[in-house]
């Protein structure tokens, strides 16, 4: 076995599963609400949803915990999830004519609308990753806010500014939250799914 292959094995061992990481966080922050978001693609990168109140503390914990040491926030981005109607098939047991039958019933369900910021964390010290953490806003109105993780990872600085610019999430605790790619007088947030481009971009009539 070459030394590089051995090193590779070592990093794999060090990398804990998301459940283990979640347990580790819960042990330190018992009242934090965490949720694992599954990922349907073959990439196998499930993510961890954090609550606003503990987000920055947990981020700092993830960065400084000796077994995790996610010292490097690689990619920070926003996602817009507008409300949409999902048709769901639910199997319902119904008693029809005295006989219990399994029926499929189609129901419309509205998903909740929110904006999301996604952080891909890696560890440069231990060489593992990615750990995907997410933060979600309560709705997708104009003044939605999330805690900024820039005080924990400087690399979030421009990327959170970009999310603020393109998605319109206010990051609380960000040292310098201004528009970054669009000009200062621009009014809308172009990466939102319902954005309608205007000619000047300054007055959305």
């Amino acid at each position: 076995m070459t030394s590089s292959a051995r090193a590779c094995l070592k990093t794999r061992l060090l990398m804990q599963t998301l459940e283990q990481i979640k347990d580790r966080i819960t042990a330190s922050f018992p009242d934090a609400r965490l949720e694992i978001i599954a990922n349907g693609s073959p990439a196998n990168q499930p993510s961890l949803l954090l609550d606003h109140a503990h987000a920055r503390q947990i981020a700092r914990f993830l960065r400084d915990d000796p077994a995790l040491r996610f010292d490097y926030a690689s990619n920070v981005t926003g996602v817009d999830w507008p409300e949409k109607i999902v048709k769901e098939k639910i199997k319902v047991k119904k008693i029809i004519d005295g006989v219990e039958k399994e029926m499929e019933e189609v129901s419309d369900r509205k998903t909740s609308a929110f904006l999301e910021s996604v952080y891909h964390l890696y560890s440069m010290t231990l060489g593992h990753g990615p750990l995907v953490i997410r933060l979600r806003t309560v709705n997708r109105g104009d003044d939605v806010a999330l805690p900024s993780l820039t005080p924990v990872w400087r690399s979030c600085e421009f990327q959170e500014r970009e999310i603020f610019d393109l998605f319109g999430i206010q990051f609380q605790g960000h040292p310098d939250l201004r528009r970054i790619l669009m000009w200062d007088n621009f009014v809308d947030h172009p990466m939102r799914k319902d954005y309608v481009p205007t000619d000047s971009g300054e007055v959305a009539l």
């Binding site: 990093t11 693609s41 073959p42 990619n75 995907v132 421009f158 790619l181």
Partner: protein
């Protein structure tokens, strides 16, 4: 282990009673590498505050990609970092492969490594040229670098049809096979590149003026570099061993024997030197790859270029681009267009520490510090 405290973004301090000079460098300044702008506050010629301004080249590539099919985004990635289109292609198709679970045939993997390392070679050589241009060397090193780059671009042209906007890789492989005689030509180019590097270094590395200009200028401490997400040669010049080719071992990089050069102080000279040493390592990879490349298919037969509809889900794929970690974050909702298409641009994120590196240096140093970070505005502004 380093104790990382919360690193606050540094903002300008007071000026000790001097009158300050505020200069807007860019967007039409000769050495901002495009349409980058810095608002620099000077005390004499010393920088006391610097704030970068972006967006002059913004075209919202991410939104365009959300309206296009997966295939149609590949030519757009060429135009991100318009110097290194091959590695941009690679990062994108790697992410789509993660999203769809496509496998890449052996031969295609080798071709990817070859073109990716060739891209790294000319990117680093040109960067050294641009850096010297910023130091005022009137283009001679740049012309030598471009002379070698032309040879590699000729190779890319006969392979993909275009010199810079290659649009060559496809999810599950590559678009077309190597033409006859391509490998021999490439081997010749690579063999010449070694002696070019020797001469290039004879011109630059020992030069006292370059040494005086770059020694101790723009020092980036390792802890700050990690925290600020600096990647690529800039990070390794600060002595942090983090090369995604080694960490992720994407593609077939685990098969090649190469080492990661690490800098000592993290100043401009180290960033230049690490790139030179990296080129020499790339030559080793190239030689091995050209020797071992097998015959076979170049694209996964399951790969469906048109009308690709990945399962709903998301994937983040990243490669070690010449400028740093180039990542693509894709979310699919099962339709033929990506639901979310995000580029992690190394150029933009490496600029986070620009102010920290420039404070206390003179305006002439700002230019070379910016030059040593290696940015391309097509990628910064997207």
């Amino acid at each position: 282990m380093m104790a990382v405290s919360d690193l606050q973004t540094s903002r300008a301090g007071d000026s000790a009673g001097h009158d300050l000079l505020e200069v807007s460098m860019g967007p039409h300044h000769p050495s901002t590498h495009g349409v980058f702008r810095m608002n620099v506050v000077l005390d004499g010629e010393t920088v006391v505050k610097l704030s970068p301004v972006f967006g002059y080249l913004h075209r919202n590539h991410e939104k365009i990609a959300e309206k296009n099919s997966y295939l149609a985004s590949i030519p757009y990635t060429d135009r991100l970092d318009y110097i290194c289109s091959m590695t941009n292609n690679w990062a994108y198709v790697l992410s789509v492969e993660k999203l769809t679970g496509l496998a890449v045939p052996e031969r295609a993997e080798y071709i990817r490594v070859i073109v990716g390392e060739l891209t790294r070679l000319f990117n680093h050589a040109c960067l050294a040229g641009f850096l010297l241009q910023d130091m005022g060397a009137l283009g001679t090193p740049l012309m030598y670098a471009f002379r070698e780059r032309e040879k590699i671009l000729d190779l890319f042209e006969s392979l993909s049809g275009a010199r810079m906007m290659c649009n060559y890789m496809r999810f599950g492989g590559c678009r077309c096979d190597l033409p006859d005689g391509w490998l021999e030509q490439a081997a010749k180019t690579v063999a010449n590149f070694d002696s070019f590097l020797d001469h290039f270094e004879a011109l630059l590395t020992g030069n006292e003026i370059i040494r005086a200009r770059s020694d101790g200028v723009g020092v980036l401490p390792a802890a700050l570099a990690i925290n600020a997400g600096v990647t690529g040669p800039g990070l390794r010049a600060s002595g942090v061993n983090y090369d995604i080719r080694k960490v992720d071992k994407y593609g077939i990089y685990s098969r090649f024997d190469f080492r990661v050069p690490l800098g000592e102080r993290g100043d401009v000279f180290d960033r230049y030197m690490v790139r030179i040493l990296e080129m020499r390592q790339s030559l080793k990879i190239l030689e091995a790859a050209m020797r071992d490349i097998p015959a076979g298919a170049i694209i996964d037969p399951k790969a469906k270029l048109r009308n690709l509809r990945p399962k709903a889900g998301e994937a983040y794929g990243r490669i070690e681009g010449p400028k740093g970690e180039l990542g693509f974050y894709l979310i699919s909702d099962g339709s033929a267009t990506p639901y979310r298409f995000r580029i992690r641009p190394p150029s933009l994120i490496n600029l986070t520490v620009l102010e920290d590196m420039c404070l206390g240096h003179t305006i002439a140093d700002v230019v070379i510090i910016l030059g040593s970070i290696d940015i391309v505005l097509g990628e910064v502004d997207r």
